[in-house]
């Protein structure tokens, strides 16, 4: 029985080298980083080394990296923390229409509590319009949050252009780089990024570690209060093994970035053209070239996505969908709707995300089994041709 993982955008397996680096921190160097004794000191030193590794990758200062428990937490902290600390300057936030739920829901929460939120639309490829963004900024605008690599359709935004506008208008710029950190080149200085979210478990590190980069000059309040960890911005005992793993994972990812991206691009484009060429009435969602090297998102009209995902699972292939039936709310993906997809396109979407252990033979196997699966459901569907 085959078992092929095509859901690296959801999460990744921990790299064995990462796991090895983490192990001593569970039972040997287990001290609390806040403790004054040797046990605490050793843990503290290891965490600071990790912090420096993670900072260097995006050309940030070590002291500008704040560890959190997840990208969701980082995004909550970025939006709520900046909104609360800058209430005297204004109450307006701008986010794109294709943010992850944690940014969208944080913004909605703020809009229910006295803040004004503008949703910046995207074009059919998922790109924001820079001129439109500029026109939406007013004297009350305090923060703009735009996702770098979209988690569903893979579209990559031009951070440098967005950053320049934000800097000129003196508005903080936050980007959710959960899908792109260490995989794509990011320079927070050159790109004028003020806050950035990065996550460990998307780059072969463990779950439970993430960070928020916060430029020194940014005013931000904590949302977790307590013992004053992380320079008083995020109280919580540090998850030392996970942080060590996060840094190790980032280091490996950066080291192999160029060759790995080239390899993935080839596989990605082979899979895209293979599906579009062999299954009629299919189309690619997102941008054809400005997209994450590991993301494929294709719509199969006349077929519902959850059915596809389940049947593929029976064939030993794991991927995901933006269909309503597979969500907890029974609403189709807001990202696909924002791209202008009609109902059948949104319900019939399949996200296939590649990773470090994806082989060409995996791509060939998917290309072999997928046409018959799509055909099966099209035969059952009342909308078939």
């Amino acid at each position: 029985m085959k078992s092929i993982y095509f859901d690296y955008a959801a999460t990744t397996p921990v790299d064995p080298i990462v796991l090895r680096a983490m192990l001593p921190y569970f039972s040997k160097i287990y001290g609390n980083t806040m403790s004054l004794h040797e046990f605490g000191r050793h843990a503290h030193e290891a965490v600071e080394k990790s912090r420096s590794t993670i900072a260097r990758i995006i050309n940030a200062e070590t002291s500008e990296i704040y560890f959190t428990g997840s990208a969701t937490e980082s995004n909550n902290l970025a939006l709520k923390g900046v909104a609360l600390a800058n209430r005297h300057r204004g109450n307006h936030l701008i986010i794109s229409a294709i943010e992850h739920d944690c940014v969208l829901e944080s913004a909605r929460y703020l809009s229910r509590n006295g803040y004004a939120v503008t949703i910046l639309p995207v074009d059919k490829y998922g790109l924001v319009n820079i001129e439109e963004l500029e026109s939406l900024i007013n004297e009350k605008t305090i923060l703009i949050s735009i996702i770098h690599g979209n988690n569903e359709v893979g579209t990559l935004q031009d951070l440098e252009k967005i950053g320049r506008i934000c800097r000129n208008k003196k508005v903080y710029f936050h980007t959710d780089a959960s899908q792109s950190y260490a995989k794509e080149l990011i320079d927070v200085k050159k790109m004028n990024i003020d806050l950035l979210t990065a996550s460990s478990h998307k780059i072969y590190g463990p779950k439970g570690a993430a960070c928020l980069f916060v430029r020194k000059s940014v005013l931000i309040d904590p949302i977790l209060h307590g013992g004053g960890h992380e320079n008083k911005l995020r109280s919580s005992t540090l998850n030392v093994p996970a942080i060590i793993g996060f840094a190790k994972a980032a280091e490996i990812t950066v080291k192999s970035r160029n060759t790995e991206n080239q390899r993935l691009l080839k596989l990605r484009d082979k899979l895209i053209s293979g599906i579009l060429g062999n299954i009629k009435d299919t189309y690619l969602n997102g941008h054809p070239t400005k997209r994450l090297a590991n993301n494929i998102n294709i719509s199969f009209p006349f077929v519902e996505g959850e059915s596809l995902v389940m049947q593929l699972d029976f064939a030993g292939i794991a991927c995901s969908t933006g269909s309503a039936c597979s969500s907890t709310t029974l609403e189709p993906s807001h990202v696909l709707i924002a791209l202008g997809l009609p109902p059948q396109g949104a319900h019939g979407s399949l996200r296939i995300s590649l990773g470090r252990w994806t082989k060409e033979s995996d791509i060939n196997y998917l290309l072999k089994v997928l046409p018959a699966i799509v055909k099966k459901f099209r035969r059952i569907s009342p909308f078939k041709n």
Partner: protein
């Protein structure tokens, strides 16, 4: 992802009685593409002196595993039953036959029963027969709900009607 019973998985993997019936005696169309579930149910009815039996039933469904499984199982429940027997089938019968559905998928069982009711309604209407009050009520409710959904998502419906690849 929600966990499905073995029965749901089996019906989903190998659905019974899918396809269409040419010139059916009754046809029921329920669900909405906006919500991601659409079910077509076709029936052929054999009328003798004192009974009328649904001798053939077929479905076409666009939807998730639960929607396909409920469609498949309702054809099993209905085949070779009288109209009166078929009208007594409720969503709980569908759920029971599938050995349960995840809570968020219960609405799929209702969809299958609605499709059956609509097909029988269509059959009786075509024969200019008297419609039982309960069936008339069910028909009205389905119609109202469809209108409500279409009004709520009117822009999106237009996008769909703009063509199958409307946004390209």
């Amino acid at each position: 992802m929600s966990t499905y019973s073995k029965q749901v998985i089996n019906h989903f993997k190998n659905p019974h009685n899918y396809g269409s019936i040419k010139k059916p005696d009754g046809k029921g169309i329920v669900g909405n593409i906006i919500c991601g579930d659409v079910m077509y149910l076709y029936i052929r009815v054999k009328k003798t002196k004192d009974t009328e039996i649904i001798e053939d039933i077929k479905f076409e469904t666009y939807g998730c595993a639960a929607a396909i499984a409920t469609s498949s199982v309702i054809t099993d429940l209905v085949k070779n039953k009288t109209i009166t027997e078929a009208l007594s089938i409720k969503k709980d019968d569908v759920i029971k036959s599938l050995n349960g559905l995840p809570p968020i998928k219960i609405h799929c069982s209702l969809l299958a029963v609605d499709a059956l009711n609509e097909a029988i309604y269509d059959y009786l209407k075509g024969k200019k027969r008297k419609i039982p009050i309960e069936l008339e009520k069910a028909h009205l409710k389905i119609k109202q709900e469809r209108q409500k959904t279409e009004t709520r998502y009117s822009d999106w419906v237009k996008a769909e009607k703009g063509g199958k690849n409307g946004h390209r």
